[in-house]
């Protein structure tokens, strides 16, 4: 009996000390090896009297389990320490830069077009397109702007032939003509795209973007026009209230015609849309002129409706605080990066237009 206790005490003391893996393995074989101290005790079992044998065996097993557990724990401890030491050595400077990634951007004009399409989509407009090169008829004559009309002076036109029959469209309005010639009423379309005028300074570029709107049906009146634009402006600028002013103007292809101003103020050098007592012109619109409807074989006594034209670049400038129109087209890497949008940032109705 004292043997067992002696073994136990001896090894318990040993196990408390500092050991390495081979020492502990040695200990393991000293105890549980073929001729190990514990193994030899087991061999004794047969020679012990029957009355004592049960107790002896039980005590021996307890000691065996105890020592075995202790040794396993110790081995785990040592292994853990070793792994930890190894991992500690593998430590790197995790603040070093990640592998490089590239990030593209969407041009603010493209983003704005998507925003506009998303808003008009909600109220049932679909998108139409037309060519950049137009004939004089679609760009002017069909739009009730006959040759020698002074209104043509308002558009400095780029021509592609001496006879001035082919030109770069000066507005997106010829898409109205193409759409109405192609299909039958009702019409409810927007047409975003490139437009061209021979004009260049801080606020004018020889190429810019417009979105045309056209809604023709049996009973569309100026109230619908006002409602549609009011809705659009509010949605676009993502404000609840907007100060908007319709004021009479003149375009040959609409009558009555209006220009629309929105209220703004300058706060801390930044333009704030919707408040303030200054006005900013943002679009032209009106009821489609009966002459235009006649030109596209739509009966003006049966159908009527409105059209509008909005400068997209101008809207983008206002919404995103861009000062210089020409910078849109100068392709400066820094500018594109600064004002561009993440390609995953797709404007949608349900998510909201901008983040």
């Amino acid at each position: 009996m004292s043997d067992l206790k002696k073994i136990k005490d001896e090894f318990l003391t040993k196990l408390k000390g500092k050991l390495n893996l081979s020492e502990i393995n040695q200990m393991k074989s000293d105890l549980f090896g073929k001729n190990g101290l514990v193994s030899s005790q087991f061999k004794k079992i047969g020679s012990i009297t029957e009355t004592e044998r049960k107790k002896f065996a039980s005590d021996l097993n307890i000691i065996k389990d105890e020592l075995q557990n202790l040794i396993e724990t110790k081995i785990n401890e040592i292994q853990n320490t070793e792994i930890n030491e190894k991992l500690e050595k593998e430590k790197i400077d995790i603040t070093l830069p990640e592998r490089s990634f590239v990030r593209g951007k969407i041009h603010p004009v493209s983003q704005t077009i998507d925003e506009i399409s998303s808003i008009f989509s909600e109220i049932g407009f679909s998108v139409e397109e037309g060519p950049d090169v137009e004939n004089e008829y679609n760009n002017f004559t069909a739009l009730n702007t006959p040759d020698n009309h002074p209104a043509r002076d308002m558009h400095d036109t780029f021509y592609l032939d001496e006879k001035k029959e082919k030109l770069l469209r000066t507005h997106t309005s010829p898409v109205q003509i193409r759409t109405m010639l192609k299909d039958k009423p009702p019409f409810k379309i927007i047409a975003p795209g490139r437009t061209y005028r021979s004009d260049s300074d801080q606020t004018h570029a020889p190429m810019f973007h417009q979105v045309e709107g056209l809604h023709i049906d049996k009973d569309i009146n100026m109230g619908h026009l006002k409602g549609c634009l009011n809705y659009f402006i509010k949605e676009f600028f993502e404000v609840d209230k907007i100060k908007m002013r319709f004021r009479p103007s003149h375009f040959p292809f609409t009558e009555p015609s209006a220009e629309v101003d929105i209220g703004f103020e300058i706060k801390d050098g930044k333009i704030v849309i919707g408040e303030g007592d200054q006005w900013l012109e943002i679009l032209g619109c009106g009821m489609v002129h009966p002459n235009v409807l006649k030109n596209v074989k739509v009966d003006p006594t049966k159908y009527q409706g409105y059209a509008f034209g909005i400068g997209i670049d101008r809207l983008a400038m206002l919404k995103y605080g861009i000062n210089d129109l020409r910078a849109f087209f100068e392709c400066d890497y820094r500018w594109l990066n600064h004002f561009g949008f993440d390609p995953l940032d797709v404007p949608t109705n349900y998510r909201g237009l901008s983040r």
């Binding site: 592998r99 041009h107 032939d161 319709f246 890497y333």
Partner: protein, 802 residues
Amino acid sequence: MKITFEWLKDHLNTNFKEEKLLEQLTNIGLEVESVENLSKDLDLFKVAKIIKTEKHPNADRLKVCEVDIGGKELKKVVCGASNAREGLITIYAPPGAIVPKTKTRLVIAKIRDVTSYGMLCSESELNLSDESDGIIELSSSKYAKNVGKSYFPKSNSNLIDLSITPNRPDCLGVRGIARDLAASGFGKLKYLKDKKISSKLKPNLKVKINKEKGQGCTVFGSCLITNVKNTESPKWLKDKIVSIGQKPISAIVDITNYVMLDINRPLHAYDADKIEKGIIVRNSKPGEEFTALDNKNYKLEKGMCVISDNKGVLGLGGIIGGTRSGTEFDTKNILLESAYFEPRSIRNAAKKLNIDTDAKFRFERGIDPLSIEDGLNKAAFLIKEICGGSISKVDIQKVENFKVTNIKFDPTLFEQISGFKISTKEMLKILEDLGFQYKKEKKYFKLSVPSWRPDISQEIDIIEELVRISGYDKIKTINPIKERNKSTLNQTQKLFHFLQRSVASKGYLEAITWSFTDSNYNEHFKGSNKVIKIVNPISSELDVLRNSIFSNLIMYMGKNLDRGFKDLSIFEIGPIFTGSNPGQQNTLVCGLSAGKKSRLSWIEKERNVDVFDVKRDVVQTLVEAGYNSDSFFIDREVPNYYHPGKSGRLFLNKEKDHVAAYFGEIHPNILKKIDLKTDSLIGFEIFLDNLKLSKKTLNDQKKKFHVSDYQKSERDFAFIVDKNINSQDLINAVSSVDHNLISNIKVFDVYEGENIPENQKSIAINLTIQSLDKTLNESDLEKINKLIIQTVENKTGAKIRS
């Protein structure tokens, strides 16, 4: 159109304030562009007396003047005028004043070490005349008492600049604006009873309008005023002219200007003594010449409307007069012209000769044909009053009579268009105020349009007038219904948006560049396209429509490289042009990538961007857009702006019906020619219009989900092939063995050199063999192996590398 409230009040009785006026003008469609307070600035200009002059110590031509401006102290002013002398009464401008001519603000300045407090002014500096020689000399008898007082009369009227739309010639006269305002409830239009000329004196100049085809003049009214003495205008007239920012010239010129500005009735005054015999209004003959009042010599084309005499052209009717018959201060006898010229004729001639004058601007918009006599009456009496002389009988030559426009108007149309209601009574009141006459005819009204409104010809024009004058704020807001009956975008438009964002997501910045380009750049990239010139380009660097997006992209890439950026990718999606007819354009996605990958990276090895980078971008984009890369086919037929060896053409399928994309290195010669310095420049073009659109949605195109869980095995093969054999051919050969069994074919090594015969290369591929029906056993696999080797060897001439 510039007006002042003061001038408006000549025609309008109103109690409203100017603030309300500005609002009202804009509300009725006469947009206020700007409001300038001229008198506030002019108040600073004082009558002053030079007390003492001394030569400037450091400049021979300058004088240092001590000037009395009414205060206790004299002001020291450095002046260069030779007429600056002691005792002279002149006009002094203090520091802070804005010089009307140059619009510059004066400051206290040191002029050659002598400090000058303000300036003594010449007439030209104050826009009083063109006289710039010396400072103004005011008569001491008149002005001695006024020293220290403002020279310009105090006026509370601001200069209001209106933007008049081209349909409203009547509002190019103050009276027209007053009429519109009165109709809108802003006061009452004054009734002006002009005196009528009732002379018995017969003019001794005969006027004749030639009856010929395309005659641009239909009425020519005139009267002769004899024995006048042209002089400076009286103060009231000068003030009027100055109040709207113009310069007084002489009484006769100022009077004709005044009548034009007041009632939009352009007039022309001839020196009658310089007219040979009589006036003939006729079409010009080709090559005829004359010198106009702008001192330019014009050579006329056939058929322009000229006013001529026996000797030749006197002036272009309604556009510009000639120097030969112009009035001067010594003019004694005047022929006053008041005519009607056809807008179309005016516009044609002015456009051809590139002349823009105030008269032309008005006539081309349409002058009131019934204002001829009013104009003559008004101007002739003023001339007589100011310059003396006697007025002759009025002579009116006519080749066409004015016809009143009548419109049948249905009052119910108003609400139908505007969406709001006003009573018929209100409508008629507005129309009457605007000068319409009406007659009730059953449910309708027969309206006679006033002669000064050439813009009104149909019912919708009447609606416009009524909505405009009632006020656009009366239009109700009808909220739109959120309902969609048609999809917003069609398939092509969806693809456009998809490709745009797909390419951007691969690290390309989207650019938008002009649709036109520099022909020198275009030349490199036009390929087989025709050059499309712009007849009137904005600059010689933007003189053609682009045949390719590369020309602009490369130019801007160069600019960015010059800014010091080395590794960039940019792209544009937009049109290129193949002809000058509408529709001869294609939509392309065009991208450029320059420089290196992993430049200055601590972790990755840097390398130049290469053709396989853009090939990945192109293929990945197309795959993302829904096209199957297994069917892609690539060959080497590319436009000449690509590196002939490192570029390719991609088709969506082996039938090669449409080019889906080009990609490759930009030809080194081009980089050399345009002097673009970068490590590497690779580009691609995806042809949106050539991408076949499936009628089915992407979802419907997908096959049933079917995968195999039977054991798969991977195999490697290395083939030795002729150097010219493409890996594509090899892969196609392998894949043709059995589509169902063989998948994931990968090229993992390409090798030339040691151990490989010359002109040959080794291509190593890895592939997966897996059956949908069973686990393949060794002999099955062995069979397939053999078949692969056999097929590849047969189809490509390759040899398996043992």
